[in-house]
């Protein structure tokens, strides 16, 4: 298990350093540009600008990630403005508020962030007034509301890199090269964040993975959906109470059907003594 991370990025110039660093290749996709590494553990989609585009792209990436997305970490990377944070500063969102709906999301920081944290406000149009202490940008709320349908708040995050502030307004407008450079300068923070998210994603993969012998049982007997749930639970218990023993050899060789398998396992486990560690 490696842990999976899905990037949602608005612009190609923001994505370029990430695509290059993680060695991502363009995949077949009609609606959006989608990239992934060889084992598809890291994917990236280019959403276009705006909350609505980000929402659609996030949903699209989930739909093309054919495996279970509940353990996948999601990361929105982009640029944003702030009244006084220095240019090229990376921040991780601690709160995201949608300026139109006023809805808020609170990404849960269960690891040491690799950069500063700040509140992020998603606006519909570029806003250079910086009325409060939020980082202002245009995608986070759409991204977060969609990603939340698939994963949990501990592994969905937004990183924003400051591209403009109240002192920078007199400077020439941002070019693609400048945006590429802003992301490039923060690649070490992005890499660190990805590593941390991969660890959490991997832990979740392990927690939710099928117990040993499940596939073998499913191929030998026919189980209904309810029976499959029962079987999973019983095989997990088997693993805990009879570690290292092959249930197919030890207990189930004479079972005729799925009902018989479940009854045999259930009865055996009920009569197995529970030894705790240091018992």
């Amino acid at each position: 298990m490696t842990g999976k991370v899905n990037f949602v990025v608005a612009l190609s110039c923001e994505a370029k350093p990430i695509i290059s660093h993680f060695n991502l290749r363009k995949r077949d996709s009609t609606l959006f540009k989608v990239y992934s590494n060889q084992d598809h553990s890291i994917r990236l989609i280019i959403s276009g600008i705006g909350s609505s585009a980000s929402l659609k792209a996030t949903k699209h990436l989930a739909s093309v990630s054919k495996d279970d997305t509940s353990t996948t970490a999601w990361l929105n990377i982009g640029i944003g403005g702030h009244k006084d944070l220095p240019l090229a500063t990376a921040i991780l969102a601690q709160r995201i508020v949608d300026s139109k709906t006023k809805q808020s999301w609170f990404p849960q920081l269960v690891f040491d962030p690799p950069c500063l944290t700040a509140s992020v406000k998603t606006v519909e149009k570029p806003d250079f007034n910086y009325p409060d202490d939020n980082v202002v940008e245009m995608e986070a709320s759409g991204f977060y509301s969609a990603a939340e349908s698939y994963s949990t708040r501990e592994i969905i995050h937004c990183m924003k890199i400051i591209s403009d502030n109240s002192q920078s307004l007199s400077r020439p407008p941002l070019t693609e090269t400048m945006v590429d450079e802003l992301v490039n300068r923060n690649l070490s923070s992005i890499k660190e964040l990805v590593r941390k998210l991969q660890v959490l994603s991997m832990e979740e993969e392990e927690r939710t993975s099928d117990p040993p012998f499940l596939q073998e049982c499913l191929s030998l007997w026919h189980f209904t959906v309810t029976q499959t749930h029962q079987l999973k639970s019983l095989l997990r218990k088997w693993l805990l109470l009879q570690p290292g023993k092959n249930v197919l050899d030890v207990l189930l060789p004479n079972c005729k059907d799925s009902r018989n398998v479940i009854q045999t396992l259930d009865l055996h486990l009920k009569n197995t003594p529970v030894w705790m560690d240091h018992d």
Partner: protein, 334 residues
């Protein structure tokens, strides 16, 4: 320890909020409108959040004092509980909180006065009752986060004035300076929860060792505080008889029986749905692979095992204490 503090905007300037913030100058402060925005959303993972829980400061708006569940009591006729805090710094694998809440963050309600007013109202509404018990450690550990909450510091003087109201502080914490430095009040019971040492090491993550808890109880008892013992939940395992006997003997070897206000025992029970949530969070936990069954909407050991364990422990306890100090907590609802 606490790196992120969420604060409801409404109580940003509350004196208790300011006092707490002054002790966490480096914490990340995030404002929210209502604590439920952070605490209640569906897509949260209790197990992951336990890695680094945040503190949420909030105001409670009602239901300050609730009837204790049936079967929950230590001798009084009227039993209530209240939760100034939700969740616990410890991580006990048998705890129902991990299935009760979606978030492992600690919610602290800073409007202590509203809880106190409600206790006062209940006492006044029951002039004929000699004693009304208020349990404080139902949704949290009463003492474990005292350095942040100052709960004991603020509630002891209140109960000192309301002698008919009995306060139970239920805890596994050895952080009892506040109690040791305070004048003893007879209407407060400091109740310690225990499982045998080997089970504690396996299931009670982050909890002080059993020996230290017993020593702490001893210091409190010697100071004059009434102490309680809570063997709740009783954990079934192959050597439970040997291990519970040893635990009970160790407690009574260290603490004089006269100091003990009450002992309660209770079986491990979860509402079925709650159990499934917890089992999914910790599929690698051997405790849940034990001989559990579903009965009347609850997941528990079989009636036979429950009775056997309760009888076994109560028989040993009866060697040390009169029966009127022994209570069985057969909680049937949460």
């Amino acid at each position: 320890m606490i790196e992120t503090i969420y604060i409801e905007s409404e109580i940003r300037s509350h004196p208790r909020t300011e006092s707490i913030l002054s002790r966490f100058s480096k914490a990340r402060i995030v404002e929210c409108e209502r604590y439920g925005e952070v605490f209640n959303p569906k897509k949260q993972n209790f197990r992951l959040q336990k890695k680094k829980p945040a503190l949420i400061l909030a105001r409670k708006h009602g239901n300050f004092i609730l009837d204790a569940p049936k079967g929950f009591g230590i001798g009084g006729r009227k039993n209530y509980y209240f939760s100034h805090m939700l969740n616990c710094i410890y991580d006990c694998r048998y705890c129902f909180l991990q299935g009760m809440y979606r978030s492992a963050n600690y919610v602290l309600f800073v409007n202590y006065e509203d809880f106190q007013n409600e206790i006062n109202n209940i006492v006044e509404q029951n002039p004929d009752e000699k004693e009304i018990t208020f349990f404080s450690g139902y949704d949290c550990d009463s003492l474990a986060l005292e350095s942040v909450t100052r709960f004991v510091r603020e509630f002891l003087p209140f109960f000192q004035k309301h002698k008919k109201a009995v306060l139970e502080l239920r805890t596994k914490s050895i952080n009892v300076n506040e109690l040791l430095n305070h004048e003893v009040i007879p209407n407060c019971v400091v109740a310690y929860s225990f499982t045998p040492e080997n089970i504690s090491q396996k299931l009670e993550h982050g909890v002080p060792p059993v020996k230290k808890r017993i020593q702490t109880m001893k210091s409190l008892a010697e100071k004059g505080w009434r102490v309680g013992i809570r063997l709740d939940p009783l954990i079934y395992h192959e050597s439970y008889k040997k291990n519970y006997r040893k635990l009970i003997q160790e407690i009574f070897y260290t603490i004089s029986a006269e100091s003990i206000h009450s002992v309660s025992t209770g079986p491990m029970r979860f509402p079925e749905k709650m159990f499934h949530t917890i089992e999914r969070l910790y599929p690698d936990e051997r405790l849940f692979a034990g001989p559990l069954e579903n009965r009347n909407g609850l997941t528990s050991y079989s009636e036979e095992i429950e009775t056997e364990m309760m009888n076994f422990c109560n028989t040993i306890l009866e060697n040390h204490l009169p029966k009127n100090k022994l209570f069985s907590c057969l909680q049937s609802s949460f």
